[in-house]
Symmetry: C2
Subunit: 271 residues, 2 copies
C-alpha cells in the first residue's frame, strides 16, 4: 500500500457522473463500468439514482413530488434516498468495480466530512424542498489523498449539514462540486454521462447532436426553446464547472465517454 503524498497532483484527473437511467439498468451499468475502467489516470465516479428512488418510494406508498426537476425531500423521502443512493446504488457500484480490479470506496458527503451543505431555504415562491442540500464546500485534499493512494472514490448524491442531518443533493451538482474542489490540485475533466448521446437539438433524434456548445449558444437555445427541462440545470452545472477552472466538460452517453457534446465558455477555435 502506498503512503499518500499530498500536493503531488496526478497528471490527469477525470470526474465522471452517471445518471439514474444508467444506474437503474444493470446491463447499462455494466457497460458504463467497463468504459469507466478504461479511462486513464485518476478518476472519480459520481452517481445519481433518482429513478430507483422514485420506484422504491412508490412501493412504500410515498409520493414523489418534483419542482423544477428537483425532488421535494421530506423525512420519509430522505430515508428512501439514503437507502437507494447511499446503499443500493453506491454499494453495488463499489462491489462491481472491485470485481473489475478497481479499488473503489463508496462515499457520501458525510463520510470524511467530504461535502458540507446547508438546507435549501424556502424559495421566494414558497416552495420548501425539505431535506435538500446546497453545497457549501468539498474537501479536494481528501479526494486527492485517496486518488494518490490508488483508491477510486464513488460518490453518492448525499451531503450533510454538520448537525447530524443528511441532505439530498442533485447528482450533477455533486459532480460539479467534486470537480471544482480538485481544480486547485490537478487538471480536471468532467463528463456527464446519461442515456442520450449528448446535447441534442431534438432529443429523440441522435443525428441532431450539437458537438460543441458555448455559453452564448446555450442561452440562445434556451431562449428559443430548443434546450429545455432537466438539460438546463445540467448545463448550468457544466458552465459553473468551467468558470471554476475545470479544463474540459462533456455531455455524452455510456457508449462513448470521449464523444458527445463538448461544453465551452467561449467559441471553440477550429482545429
Amino acid at each position: 500500500m502506498d503512503t499518500p503524498t499530498l500536493n503531488k497532483a496526478p497528471q490527469r484527473l477525470s470526474v465522471i457522473k452517471v445518471g439514474g437511467a444508467v444506474v437503474e439498468d444493470s446491463a447499462s451499468l455494466a457497460i458504463l463500468l467497463d468504459e469507466f475502467v478504461k479511462v486513464g489516470g485518476s478518476k472519480v465516479l459520481v452517481h445519481g439514482g433518482g429513478r430507483s428512488a422514485t420506484k422504491l418510494a412508490e412501493q412504500l406508498g410515498i409520493e414523489s413530488r418534483m419542482v423544477g426537476g428537483r425532488r421535494i425531500t421530506d423525512a420519509e423521502m430522505l430515508r428512501v434516498v439514503t437507502m437507494v443512493y447511499g446503499g443500493l446504488v453506491n454499494k453495488n457500484i463499489v462491489a462491481q468495480l472491485q470485481a473489475r480490479g478497481v479499488n473503489a470506496l463508496g462515499l457520501t458527503g458525510a463520510d470524511f466530512n467530504l461535502i458540507r451543505a446547508h438546507r435549501r431555504p424556502v424559495t421566494p415562491e414558497g416552495v420548501d424542498f425539505g431535506f435538500v442540500g446546497d453545497v457549501d464546500s468539498a474537501d479536494g485534499q481528501r479526494l486527492l489523498q485517496l486518488l494518490e493512494s490508488g483508491v477510486t472514490p464513488v460518490v453518492a448524491p448525499l451531503t450533510h449539514d454538520g448537525q447530524g442531518n443528511l441532505l439530498n443533493t442533485n447528482a450533477d451538482t455533486m459532480a460539479q462540486s467534486v470537480a471544482t474542489a480538485l481544480v486547485p490540485v490537478s487538471s480536471v475533466s468532467l463528463t456527464f454521462c446519461f442515456e442520450l448521446s449528448g446535447v441534442l437539438r431534438n432529443p429523440s433524434d441522435s443525428s441532431t447532436l450539437i458537438p460543441h456548445l458555448t455559453e452564448v449558444d446555450f442561452r440562445a437555445l434556451v431562449a428559443d426553446g430548443t434546450i429545455a427541462g432537466g438539460m438546463i440545470p445540467k448545463l448550468e452545472n457544466a458552465f459553473a464547472a468551467l468558470r471554476a477552472g475545470v479544463s474540459k466538460v462533456r455531455i455524452t452517453n455510456i457508449h462513448d465517454l470521449q464523444g458527445g457534446t463538448v461544453i465551452t465558455l467561449e467559441t471553440v477555435p477550429s482545429a
Copy 2:
C-alpha cells in the same frame, strides 16, 4: 491532514459493535454515540440493523425467513439489507458522528476491498442461506491506516465476494473479523453492545448478570439451557476473538460500555 504511518500501532484500539435494537431507536442510538465518543484511543464502530431490515422487508411485502438466528437472503432480501445496512443505518451513524466531531467513514466489506467473503454453501441439512457471506479475510493494515490518520471507520454488516456480489454477513461476526484483523498491529478490545446489560442467567432480570464468563462456564450454561438462542453465536464470536488474540471481550449495554459481562477463555484470577 496527517500522512498515515504504517506499522506504528495506536496504543489502545477498541472495536465496538452495536446491535439492531439500539440502531433502530434514535434515542438509544444517540446515547450509544455519546458513549462511543467518550471512548479513548482509536476505535471502530460495527453496526447491525436486522430489525430495520425486517421492517422494510415487511413494508415491501418480502417475507423474512430466519434459520438459527440467521437471515435467509435471496436477491430481494439482499437489496433490502444493502439499502438498510449500507445506506440508512450506516450513513445516519456517520452523519451523527460528524456532528459530534468524529471524522467517521462508513464502510462495507466491498469498500477498499476491506472484507472478502464467500457465499455460504448449502448446509448438510439442505438450508440455502442465499447471499450470505462467511468471512475469508479482513484488511487490518487499511483499517490501521485510517485510524492513524484520525478517521473512525463505521462498518456495516455487508461483505463482497470479489465477483461483484455483496453478501449479507452477521454483524457480530463482522466485529470479530475486524477486531481479529487488528490484532497483529495493536492491542485490541472488542465490546458487543446490545439492549441487555450483559449475559444474564435470566434475560428478563438484570440482577442475574454474569460478571465474568469463561468458555468452560459457557459450555455448561448452554448444556443446562441457561444460555440459549442468539446469545450462543454471539458468545462463539467472543471466544473466537479471544482465541485469535483480542485482549478483552465484553458484552454490555449502551449505558455502560465499561460494564456488563467480561468474556475470558480461562478463569479470571481474583483481583
